[in-house]
Amino acid sequence: MSAEDLYQGMLSAGVELAVALPDSLLSPLCAMTAERGEIPYVQCCDEATAIGIAAGANLAGTCTLVLMENSGLRRACETLSRFVLSHRLHVAMLLSHRGAFGEANWWGLAHSETMAPHLEMLRIKTEHVTAAVDFEDALRRAYSTLRTGQSSVALVAERSALSVSR
């Protein structure tokens, strides 16, 4: 799956605002989104801030997607906990799966080990995306669940699908 495929999926699924903290796996998609200007792109320097902006925009009825590494769940856990569990302020996220099988970086392994418990703890409905053909449909379904107002949603982009070797 290339950044172009992901980008086209975002466009087709109706994403109206992208809020991101670029990591090395999603950086090509972030750069493409920022450069093309079809989807307003807001870059943050902390995942909790990204979640806050996205939750506000979503509350106002704008179809918003947070792009961040899975480690951002830990960084934003306090904000997500308050929003998701106590306020019904929900978000949709595209998470790069750092630390999956084949990870070659010692520092990345814990990102994966802590991801699933965080998603489960926060009751975030999750789907793993492994192929380009699945992304747009997965994103549409993610927004269907988001619209229930009952849960935040996460799509986990697998490293094998992100066409990266690092």
Binding site: T49, G52, I53, G61, T79
Partner: protein, 199 residues
């Protein structure tokens, strides 16, 4: 100036097409008494400005008032770069920081142990802040804000002699978000979210 006087000086100029996002503690309790409707009551520190920014970006036609506290802002200074980038293009976002210099709700310990130059802090990110010591200064700063004039972030330097108001809010975070979501849809003239696809 106390917190209520600062908040009222700002909200006195608020129009009907507006929503507010408010921090917990005394600030939230006062807002509930002054403006119970069209206000998103948040129980977390550091999230008011990002939430308000997201609403303001999504709903340009609606004025969004963010009432954050000194402790809340200091907990999430990472919002400053994105505010510095976005605020100049948003004429509907108004940010007020209620600075009582203490963590009042948790017992009154100081919120910092060093000097804090608010105007210099915001200036470092290209933002204009104005410290207000009385309601007239706050009202003047709000009135001065108009298209083409750089809107200041207002810092209310407050002192409160009265005890923190008792918890009187009759809504929780969930109900507050539902109410504000519905109000935003109404103000924007958009269809409300439909939480089910099947009858």
């Amino acid at each position: 100036m106390n917190s209520r006087e600062f908040i009222e000086a700002i909200l006195d100029r608020a129009g009907g097409r507006s929503v507010a996002v408010v921090a917990p503690g005394r600030t939230g309790e006062l807002l509930f008494r002054i403006r119970p409707a069209r206000t998103l009551f948040v129980d977390s520190m550091g999230d008011v400005c990002p939430l308000a920014l997201g609403i303001a970006m999504a709903a340009r036609e609606i004025d969004v008032y963010a009432f954050e506290t000194d402790g809340g802002l200091l907990m999430n200074l990472s919002v400053l770069p994105v505010l510095g980038r976005r605020m100049p293009e948003l004429d509907n976002l108004r940010i007020a920081i209620i600075d009582n210099r203490i963590y009042e709700s948790s017992g009154g310990m100081p919120s910092r142990g060093c000097p804090l130059d608010w105007e210099m802090l915001f200036s470092a990110f290209g933002l204009h802040a104005r410290v207000c010591a009385d309601p007239e200064a706050a009202a003047s700063a709000v009135t001065a804000a108009r298209p083409g004039v750089r809107r200041p972030i207002l810092i209310g330097s407050v002192s409160n002699d009265a005890a923190v108001p008792a918890a009187a809010k009759t809504i929780d975070g969930v109900e507050s978000s539902y109410l504000v979501e519905a109000e935003l849809a109404r103000l924007r003239g958009i269809e409300r979210r439909r939480p089910a696809a099947k009858s």
